[in-house]
């Protein structure tokens, strides 16, 4: 009897040991990522506002900001750009190696991790995802990013947890290409892809069980026109320093709030917990009762947005738009553009338009871009005398009323268009109008509805000058290629050039092409520094100012680390937690 008991005990011990070993092995197999943030507490809900309703949760069709804001919380990418350090870091790929020629990247994937529906993730999902993105018939926005500049990418599975990407030519920022290209679950989307219905999949009315991703949250419910709620993904692949599985929060709710002002009011009254992209006026307004209302606001310094004055230098106006073509003779004169630049009081603009929460700019790279800013770009203060000298040397004269005329005696007058919905850019236009009036140039400011504004600038070219801005999703120069290459789709001042219209545009083309294939950072920086110099000298666009990124959060939100890169606040949503009050 005793022996029996002993046997049973031994047997039990063995079984328990074996089971324990097995679970241990299973746990070891699940290759989780450890985060370095403060160890938090589970529970709670985060509420954030959106200016419009998300349209879809489908990564292939989500192109609008609200959809992306929600979708990226439910999905994950292979290599991620850390929004705070602005450098790449491992995500679903735990490590990677590049071949010496920079043409081959082998990505090793995390083993044993699962989608939010519990299904395992492996190389097949990655290969499937890239097959989808690169498929011409799918028309995904990712395709434009991946194959921009005639880059050809092929994707191969080497083993269940290794994927090899082959590029047709080296790309200095290849690792950064993977950011925000999310991995799709093959088991859920393969059928829709083969049926050609992928575009319609994963709308907001799809039952939550049929949507899955590798992000920290998954869809819980959707109330049309009001809100979208996401819940914690129990299979998420990140843990904190004490091996607690992230995320901490139970739920995130996205509220639809119609306007910028309404967003600020909802945050002020405590209806929402976090606010991104505050404008400086509302920032000042909310700052007044920071103490009493229990939230904190942060000024993160200039972001990546650059606002500029654009002169129409398009060639296709000749004959078609004679009045604009006549004025283009002034705009094409570099001294005229330099005079305009010298006459603009950038510090006044920063003070009045951004209430001091912004930075004056003389070229396209802002101070927020730590890696690529050329600090040697001269920053001359406003000088009307210099502007007058430049105009005089370019053959302009003043009549007895002080109005500026060209060498044909024609008075220099032009209009500046801007989008009426952007009050800050309208304000910039009105201040430029006053500044140029001091040179005897008569400028009229024309507010246009956003779509007709864009149509004039990009399609019909029926404008004289414009105030607009561009924002980058990344600090790297590569996404800027389409702005600076003379063949680029966003080469705004002269679209659709067959060949570079000026020697300096030719030089920019060469520099930009060279920087892509230059793998060494200092050498690459030198090339892009030169591009900034050319922009500051030749002024294809006259850069004016960059607003600070202004955000706010409830005081007791832990691990809140906003950054100047989009999405500013929720990039580390898995680490956010509520501190006990």
């Amino acid at each position: 009897m005793r022996r029996d008991i002993r046997l049973i005990l031994v047997f039990l011990a063995l079984v328990t040991g074996a089971l324990w070993a097995q679970t241990k092995a299973a746990a070891a197999k699940e290759e989780l990522q450890r985060t370095t943030g403060e160890v938090g507490q589970y529970g709670g809900r985060l509420v954030i506002s959106q200016r419009a309703e998300a349209k879809t949760l489908n990564p292939v069709t989500a192109i609008d900001r609200p959809s992306r804001e929600v979708m990226y919380r439910t999905q994950a990418d292979l290599i991620h750009i850390n929004r705070v350090t602005q450098r790449t870091e491992p995500a679903l790929a735990k490590s990677w190696t590049a071949s010496n020629d920079g043409l081959e990247y082998a990505l090793r994937l995390r083993r044993g991790i699962r989608f939010s529906d519990g299904q395992p993730f492996n190389a097949d999902d990655v290969v499937f995802s890239f097959q989808v993105y690169l498929d011409q018939n799918v028309h995904s926005p990712q395709r434009d990013l991946l194959i921009a500049r005639d880059q050809k990418i092929t994707v191969q599975k080497a083993d269940p947890y290794t994927v090899v990407f082959k590029l047709a030519r080296p790309d200095a920022a290849a690792e950064r290409l993977f950011d925000s290209v999310v991995v799709l679950p093959k088991h859920l989307l393969e059928k829709a892809y083969h049926d050609g219905t992928l575009g319609q999949a994963w709308s907001l009315t799809t039952p939550p069980g049929q949507i899955a991703g590798l992000g920290p949250f998954r869809l819980k419910n959707y109330v049309p026109g009001e809100q979208i709620t996401l819940e914690r993904n129990p299979y998420y692949w990140k843990v904190d320093a004490k091996d607690n599985r992230l995320p901490y929060l139970n739920e995130i709710t996205f509220l639809v709030v119609a306007s910028e002002d309404a967003e600020a009011i909802r945050f002020q009254t405590g209806d929402t917990d976090v606010i991104s992209r505050l404008n400086s006026e509302n920032y000042a307004l909310l700052a007044k009762d920071q103490q009493s209302r229990g939230y904190t606001l942060e000024d993160l310094g200039p972001g990546l947005e650059y606002n500029f004055i654009l002169f129409n230098l398009n060639d296709d106006t000749r004959g078609r738009l004679p009045d604009i073509a006549r004025k283009q003779a002034w705009f094409r004169e570099v001294k005229f553009r330099q005079a305009v630049s010298a006459a603009i009081d950038r510090s006044d603009i920063v003070r009045l338009v951004y209430q001091g929460r912004g930075e004056p700019l003389w070229a396209q790279v802002t101070a927020g871009n730590k890696l690529w800013l050329n600090t040697k770009i001269p920053k001359p203060a406003r000088s009307l005398n210099r502007a007058r000298e430049l105009l005089k040397s370019a053959g302009f004269t003043w009549n007895k009323d002080g109005k500026l005329g060209d060498h044909n005696g024609q008075l220099v007058e032009f209009s500046i268009v801007s989008s009426s919905s952007n009050s800050q850019r309208m304000q910039i236009a009105n201040m430029v109008q006053q500044d140029l009036a001091r040179l005897g140039i008569e400028v009229s400011v024309v507010p246009l509805e956003f779509r007709s504004f864009l149509e004039r600038v990009t399609q019909t070219h029926e404008y004289e000058a414009a105030v607009m801005g561009l924002v980058n999703g990344d600090v790297d120069p590569n996404p800027e290629m389409n702005v600076w290459m003379s063949s680029g789709a966003t080469h705004l001042w002269n679209l659709g050039e067959k060949k570079p219209a000026t020697p300096w545009e030719e030089e920019i083309d060469k520099l930009m092409e060279q920087q892509i294939v230059t793998l060494n950072y200092p050498a690459r920086k030198k090339l892009y520094d030169r591009v900034q110099e050319i922009v500051a000298d030749e002024l294809p666009i006259i850069c004016v100012a960059s607003p600070d990124i202004l955000v706010g959060s409830k005081k007791n939100l832990g691990n809140f680390r906003p950054a100047i890169l989009d999405p500013y606040t929720l990039h580390n949503v898995e680490e956010l937690f509520w501190k006990p009050k």
Binding site: E281, D345, Q355, Q427, M431, Q433, S444, V445, V446, Y463
Partner: protein, 341 residues
């Protein structure tokens, strides 16, 4: 208050307002487009009579403003130097009745500034802009009303006097005009205008657009009066003596419409002022930097301005006496001229 006294007050009030906007160049201390960028959103300047030492002055003076170094649009008075308010000072150039002038009603020695109604986001003097802006808004009301009333008069009298086929056609046209969604049509018209139009051209286009919109209602009223007047015995008698159509209209019929005409004018002018204010508020009126009450109020669409800078509401407050004045006048004319005789 007796009726007569109210009418008298209304007339005096309106004459004062129109006088003030006609003399805007003289009464306003600054050029309305001048941006004093050191003083965005400065509050209304306080007039002092007692200085820092506590002694009383017989004439008002002001202190300069020091912008707060930390907070945007916050100011402190600089008590170290007082600027007395001066009368008939020389300042920004303007033109009055075709003469070029520099003399202003009041002003302050440099480097002081006087902003009786504060400044806007560019540091432009609200008081000066209110006066100059009234020019656009009130004159737009007057001219547009004149335009639509003369159109209405012409169509209404022709229609009522000749009757028959002419009457039918014109009245269908009137109905068509009454049924149109005007606000949206105005949006469309504004969108088709060329980009580079001077503020003067923009103003006249605005006036023509608002004026041509509203002729249908007065036309119908005048037609009614003409229709009944034409059958009066003395008109028939005059016709019997061989009077021409034109003579009959001018001598016997149109004078009958005077009551309707004036009442309509008193009703339409404030309506058109409001139309200008609405269109400019929505950015469809005269463009910056020319002020009008509508585009001055346009900035209030931004929450922070509405919440922080109460003096930006001034143009809305001025609209109240204007409307009241015209309302009283319209009532009076209605009773007196249409039923009074």
């Amino acid at each position: 208050m007796s009726r007569k006294r109210m009418v008298r007050i209304a007339v005096v009030l309106l004459s004062l307002l129109y006088g003030a906007i006609l003399g805007a160049g003289f009464l306003a201390p600054y050029d309305p487009a001048e941006q004093d960028r050191a003083h965005p959103f400065a509050p209304p300047t306080r007039l002092h009579f007692v200085d820092a030492e506590g002694s009383l002055h017989g004439w008002p003076f002001i202190y300069g403003l020091i912008p707060s170094p930390d907070n945007f649009a916050e100011y402190q008075e600089d008590r170290s130097r007082a600027f007395p308010v001066r009368l008939f000072v020389s300042g920004d150039h303007y033109s009055l009745l075709g003469f070029s002038c520099r003399r202003h009603w009041f002003g302050i020695d440099e480097p002081g500034h006087i902003f009786l109604l504060g400044t806007d986001g560019y540091g432009r003097d609200q008081f000066s802009r209110l006066l100059w802006g009234g020019r656009i808004s009130l004159l737009a009301g007057l001219i547009a009303a004149a335009l639509s009333l003369s159109l209405g008069m012409a169509v209404g009298s022709v229609s009522g006097y000749f009757g028959g086929f002419v009457d039918d056609t014109l009245m269908r046209l009137v109905e068509l005009f009454l049924a149109m969604p005007w606000l949206y049509l105005l949006f469309a018209v504004r969108a088709f205008l060329p980009l580079h139009i001077s503020p003067t051209v923009a103003f006249f286009l605005l006036v023509v657009v608002i004026g041509t919109v509203g002729w249908a209602r007065p036309a119908r009223l005048i037609r009614g009066v003409v229709l009944s007047a034409r059958e009066r015995k003395y008109v028939l008698a005059a016709r019997g003596f061989g009077a021409s159509d034109f003579y009959l209209l001018r001598r016997h019929i149109l004078p009958q419409t005077m009551g309707v005409f004036l009442t309509q004018a008193a009703l339409l002018i404030p309506q058109y002022i409001l139309a200008e204010v609405t269109l400019s508020f929505l950015g469809l009126g005269v463009g910056e930097p020319v002020p009008s009450w509508g585009n001055m109020l346009g900035s209030l669409q931004q929450y922070h301005i509405l919440a922080s800078y109460w003096w930006m509401l001034a143009p809305a407050l001025v609209l109240v006496p204007v409307f009241w004045g015209y309302q009283v006048l319209a009532d009076f004319l209605h009773e007196r001229l249409e039923f009074g005789h």
